[in-house]
Amino acid sequence: MDAKELIARRVAQEIPAGAIVNLGIGLPSMVANYLPVDLGVFFQAENGVIGLGARPPEGMEDINLTDAGGGFVSAVPGAAAIDSAMSFGLIRGRHLDITVLGGMQVDARGRLANWMVPGQMVAGMGGAMDLVVGAKQVIVAMAHANKGVSKIVPDCTLPITAPRRVSLIVTELAVIRPEDDGLHLIETAPGVTVDDVRAATEADLIVTGDVPEMRM
C-alpha cells in the first residue's frame, strides 16, 4: 500500500454513515474510493453539487458536471445542484459535517496553512478558508514531510488558512489529534514506532500510554 492510499484509507474510517463531506482536490479526493457504497455519504463539492458520483465512462461525461478540481463526475440519486452562494452558505453555516483538506503545514496549536508560499506559490485560498471556518470537523490528510522537512511544526511559518484548531491530522506515519495542550499522537502507521514519528516531527508530540497501530 503506498503512502497516499494508506492516508486515504485511514481518513475513510473517520466518516460516519450519512455524513455530508467535502473532499479537497488531490489526495483528499481519494478518500471516496475507500468508503462502502451503502454508507449513504453525500459528497459536496464547493462548485455546486451535493451528491458527487463516480467519473462517467470515457466519452459520456457531461461538460457541465465536474468536481471542484474541474474533473468530470456524475451525480448520485438524490443529488442537488446549487449555486456558489448556497454552496458556501452550507459550508459557513455549519451544515457540512466533515471537510478533508490537504496541508502544507499544521502547527502545535492545530492551525492549518495550505494556500500560499509567499513569493513563490500563490495559488489563492479558493474555498479552503470557508471550509476550515465552517465545517463541523476538519481533517487534514497530508504527507508527514515535504522533501524531508516536517510539515508538522511548532508554529506555522506559512500564512495560516484559519486560526481554528483542526480536528485531526492523518499522515503516512501517524494519526495526530490537536487538543488544548498540544498535539496528541494517537496512532502510528503499521511498522512505524513512536520514536520514528517523533524523529520525523518538528513539533512536540504528546504520548499517553501505548500508542495503537492504525487498523487497516
Binding site: G48, D83, S84, F88, R92, A123, G126, M129, T161
Partner: protein, 217 residues
C-alpha cells in the same frame, strides 16, 4: 421582449478599463464566446472579477493570456501559471478573496446590502486593513460589496424576455453576478420561446438581463 445582440455588438459595449464579472468555475459555466471575443478585440486595463482563472485557454484564461487584465479579484489562480507569473511580475494587481466571501460580496452589491459580516479570513492575511465588528462578543470581518460595469453570464437556456435557467455545476457564480453587473450580457446555450422555461425553474428573472447574445450558429 429582448432582441438578440451579435457578438461584435456585445463586445463593442465593453470599453478599455471596464470592470467585468465573468461567471464560471474552472471554466465550467464560463461565457466562452464573449470571453474569447473580448480577448481577440484586444481590450486593455480590465478589472476582472471571477472565481478562478482556470487553466490557460479555459474560462477567463484568454483574457489573462491576452494581457487584457490590469486588476483581478478572484479566489484562486493556482491552475493558471500565466496568471501567477503576471501577478508576481506586477503586471496584474491581484486581490485574493476567500470564495465564500467573494460570492457574498458580489451578492451584497446585487441585492442592495452595504456589506457582509463573516468569520472567514479572521486571524489571517485576509483581515489586514479591514474593519472588525464585534456583535455580542463575537468578532466578524466586514467585507464590502463588489459591483461591476458588466456581468457576462453563461446560462443553459434563455427565453424571449431574458429569463435564465442554469444547469448542474454550471450555476456557480452566474446567477449571483447577474444581479451585480450594471449591464448584464447573457450567453445562453439555447434560446427558447416563452413558456418553455417553467416559472419555478427561472433562477435569473429576465428583468436583470440587458442583452442576450445571438445563438452560436
Amino acid at each position: 421582449m429582448k432582441q438578440a445582440i451579435s457578438l461584435e455588438d456585445a463586445i463593442a459595449l465593453i470599453p478599455d478599463g471596464a470592470s467585468v464579472m465573468v461567471g464560471g468555475f474552472m471554466g465550467v459555466g464560463a461565457p466562452r464566446r464573449l470571453i474569447r471575443a473580448l480577448a481577440a478585440a484586444g481590450r486593455k486595463n480590465l478589472t476582472l472579477i471571477t472565481n478562478d482563472t482556470a487553466i490557460p485557454g479555459e474560462g477567463p484564461g484568454p483574457l489573462i493570456s491576452g494581457g487584457c487584465v490590469a486588476r483581478l479579484i478572484t479566489s484562486h489562480i493556482g491552475k493558471n501559471p500565466e496568471a501567477q507569473a503576471q501577478m508576481l511580475s506586477g503586471q496584474i494587481e491581484v486581490e485574493l478573496v476567500p470564495q465564500g466571501t467573494l460570492v457574498e460580496r458580489i451578492r451584497a452589491a446585487g441585492v442592495g446590502l452595504g456589506g457582509v459580516l463573516t468569520q472567514t479570513g479572521l486571524g489571517t492575511l485576509v483581515e489586514d486593513g479591514k474593519q472588525v465588528v464585534k456583535i455580542d462578543g463575537q468578532r466578524w470581518l466586514l467585507e464590502t460589496p463588489i459591483q461591476a460595469d458588466f456581468a457576462l453570464i453563461r446560462a443553459r437556456r434563455c427565453d424571449y424576455v431574458g429569463n435564465l435557467e442554469y444547469t448542474l455545476t454550471a450555476h456557480n457564480f452566474n446567477p449571483i453576478m447577474a444581479m451585480a453587473g450594471a449591464t448584464v450580457i447573457a450567453e445562453p446555450d439555447e434560446i427558447v420561446p416563452l413558456g418553455v422555461i417553467p416559472p419555478d425553474a427561472v433562477k435569473t428573472p429576465g428583468l436583470l438581463v440587458d442583452h442576450v447574445l445571438r445563438r452560436a450558429c
